[in-house]
């Protein structure tokens, strides 16, 4: 052994004994490097909790007509209403407390966004895996579909589907799933094509493991990092798209207003200067989307091995 190598070995501090570095811990540490991403994560957790516990947190149930008073309609933010509590964000034309409306709207927006992203993820990832694993005709058929899907803007495809199916939460979810599955399929196929040539897959083949097991227990876990990144970003996209569709009057029904529909409801009052009916739901939507995107951005940086030094 040369003395240079000895010098080097001595120079390395023995951190390894103090704390075992697991991949998960490293991931958490790297994620936490960006304060902005942490902030995004924090904000998103608060938003999600607000949405989940809206019925207990909101001052008013905005869809219980018994609690509404038309006399409270279009009140400015900060006014005290007939029921005795303050409308911090004002009221809409029906006398609904906007704060409560937003909390309930978040429930719809988040569940439609996350739900459609999950279903699309499941379908897309399965098809992507299948394409990568089966290859040949199956692969080219699936990928042709993906290309076709991706060559049309999401909003157009969603409009088309809703034009055929009509309004309704379920139809919006179907439209979002049909619009988004292709992103997952493309991502998973790309990664899976690289991974399936690795030795551990060959080893699994040599052990004669069943195909299903190889696909889901061996191949899929290794495709997870890019899938997680895409899924995060797609949740934000789904929420924005749902809001857009609802704003256009093609999304959720008036009885279950998401943030987009709340904004649409305030549209006509905006021209007369009653900004808050549209403004605050928009801010809520914006904060939600930005926080998810911040988390997604950092996830992409941390999970992308190409960017790692």
């Amino acid at each position: 052994m040369s003395d240079l190598a000895l010098d080097r070995a001595a120079a390395v501090p023995s951190v390894a004994q103090e704390r075992v570095e697991t991949p998960f811990r490293r991931f958490v540490a790297e994620f936490a490097e960006s304060k902005l991403a942490l902030l995004g994560l924090g904000v998103f957790v608060v938003i999600a909790l607000t949405a989940i516990f809206a019925p207990w947190l909101a001052p008013q149930n905005p869809y219980d007509l018994g609690q509404l008073d038309i006399m409270d309609g279009r009140m400015e933010p900060g006014t005290v209403g007939g029921a005795g509590f303050t409308f911090w964000l004002g009221t809409d034309d029906q006398g609904r407390d906007m704060l409560s409306g937003i909390m309930y709207g978040l429930r719809i927006s988040l569940s439609v966004g996350a739900g459609s992203a999950l279903i699309a993820c499941f379908i897309g990832a399965s098809l992507g895996l299948l394409a990568a694993y089966a290859g040949g005709r199956t692969d080219s058929l699936i990928m042709r579909l993906v290309d076709l899907q991706l060559s049309f803007p999401a909003i157009l495809a969603a409009l088309m589907i809703l034009a055929f199916l009509g309004k309704g939460i379920l139809n919006v979810v179907i439209a979002l799933v049909l619009v988004e599955w292709a992103y997952y399929a493309r991502t998973v196929r790309g990664t899976a094509l690289v991974e399936r040539r690795r030795e551990y897959i060959e080893a699994a083949h040599c052990l004669a493991l069943p195909t299903r097991r190889i696909l889901f227990r061996h191949l899929l876990p290794n495709c997870m990092p890019p899938l997680i990144v895409v899924a995060t970003m797609q949740v934000a996209r789904a929420i924005a798209l749902e809001a857009t569709l609802s704003f256009l009057g093609l999304g959720v029904p008036i009885t279950e207003p998401s943030l987009g529909l709340l904004i649409a409801n305030g549209y006509e009052y905006m021209l007369s200067g009653k900004y808050w009916i549209s403004f605050y739901p928009g801010i809520a939507l914006l904060i939600t989307i930005v926080s998810i995107n911040l988390v997604g951005d950092q996830l992409r940086d941390v999970l992308n091995p190409r960017l790692r030094k």
């Binding site: 088309m160 055929f164 934000a236 809001a243 549209y267 905006m270 928009g282 914006l286």
Partner: protein, 325 residues
């Protein structure tokens, strides 16, 4: 060149057929075709007559054939609401949409390229960080809400610009355009900004990434070794290289800009194709919906072709390959 073009054309035709099939299945198989194609106001006798006239008693593949042959003759049905050929209706609205989409694209390039260039050349400066943070915001902001905010600030609060509509138009090439009158331009400004917001962010990101990548290339160092001025190195050597991907993407995005104008047109009551399709969906004027979809598909395919051609003009390497094959 010709073989390459021919292949691209054949691909395009194949996509048109595929899409016509999808639209057909959408209209005729998923929905109730009677409800879709016959005005809901029609009475029983009219309905039956219409069903026979439309050939809805024929087997599905024959119906598709009829649909296709009519479509090929430019007959995509008549609007229930306007009682005009759907195709003509859409073509009338097209200039307004094109004007908006082109306005937004130009704005995206004019604003996005310099900002992206700056952010790429000085990636660590505070200004660059602000630009990049702004571009994240541009990606995240829902278009329709930004449109509302623009109206609120510039039309309602400040009163500088008109909130909705297209303003006076002037005829040019047989079509009506807003950008030829001062007041028309004022009407165009807010919707164009609204529609361009996403594209600006996109152009910034593409340009920045392109600059960061190109600046490391040997030919940039060689250009500097030749004693060229920094301006020439950046604006000729670097810029011409990044222009290729940026123009490609922005060109390809023109289609999605046209599609997304649906939202902007609805917010600003801009009388284009997008407003028409939303109104049509809301009143179930299905022939217009079908016609719109088919026209958009054609548009996409034409845009893709044009971008491919432009690309080959800008990038000599592609031109040669195209000639070779």
């Amino acid at each position: 060149m010709s073989v390459y073009m021919l292949r691209r054309l054949l691909q395009a035709v194949a996509v048109v057929f595929a899409m016509s099939l999808i639209v057909f299945v959408g209209v005729y198989a998923i929905g109730d075709p009677v409800e879709i194609l016959i005005s809901p106001d029609a009475d029983q006798i009219e309905r039956e007559r219409a069903i026979a006239a439309l050939g809805l008693d024929l087997p599905l593949w024959e119906q598709y054939f009829v649909f296709l042959s009519k479509a090929l003759q430019g007959d995509l049905g008549r609007s229930f609401v306007f009682n005009e050929p759907a195709l003509r209706l859409i073509l009338q609205r097209m200039p307004a949409t094109l004007e908006l989409a082109f306005g937004a694209t130009i704005m995206a390039l004019v604003i996005g390229l310099p900002l992206g260039l700056y952010a790429g050349l000085r990636p660590d400066s505070p200004v660059s960080r602000t630009i990049m943070a702004g571009s994240i915001l541009g990606f995240s902001l829902p278009t329709f809400w930004v449109g509302l905010m623009l109206i609120m600030v510039f039309a309602v609060q400040l009163g500088w610009l008109p909130s909705t509509g297209r303003g006076p138009t002037r005829e040019f090439l047989g079509m009506q355009w807003s950008f030829l009158t001062w007041d028309g331009l004022r009407h165009l400004l807010l919707p164009a900004i609204n529609l361009s917001l996403f594209k600006i962010s996109l152009v910034i990101r593409l340009t920045r990434a392109g600059v960061r990548e190109t600046i490391l290339m040997d030919f940039v160092k060689f250009a500097r070794a030749k004693g060229l001025s920094p301006n020439r190195v950046i604006f000729v050597h670097v810029f011409k290289n990044i222009l290729i991907p940026v123009v490609t993407v922005v060109g390809l995005e023109l289609g999605s800009t046209i599609a997304f104008s649906v939202v902007t047109e609805s917010v600003f009551a801009w009388p284009g194709m997008g407003k028409l399709i939303i109104d049509s969906i809301n009143v179930l004027d299905r022939p217009v919906i079908v016609a719109y979809l088919m026209i958009i598909v054609m548009m996409f395919i034409i845009i893709n072709l044009v971008v491919d051609l432009t690309y080959s003009v800008l990038d000599p390497r592609v031109r040669l390959e195209a000639k070779g094959t």
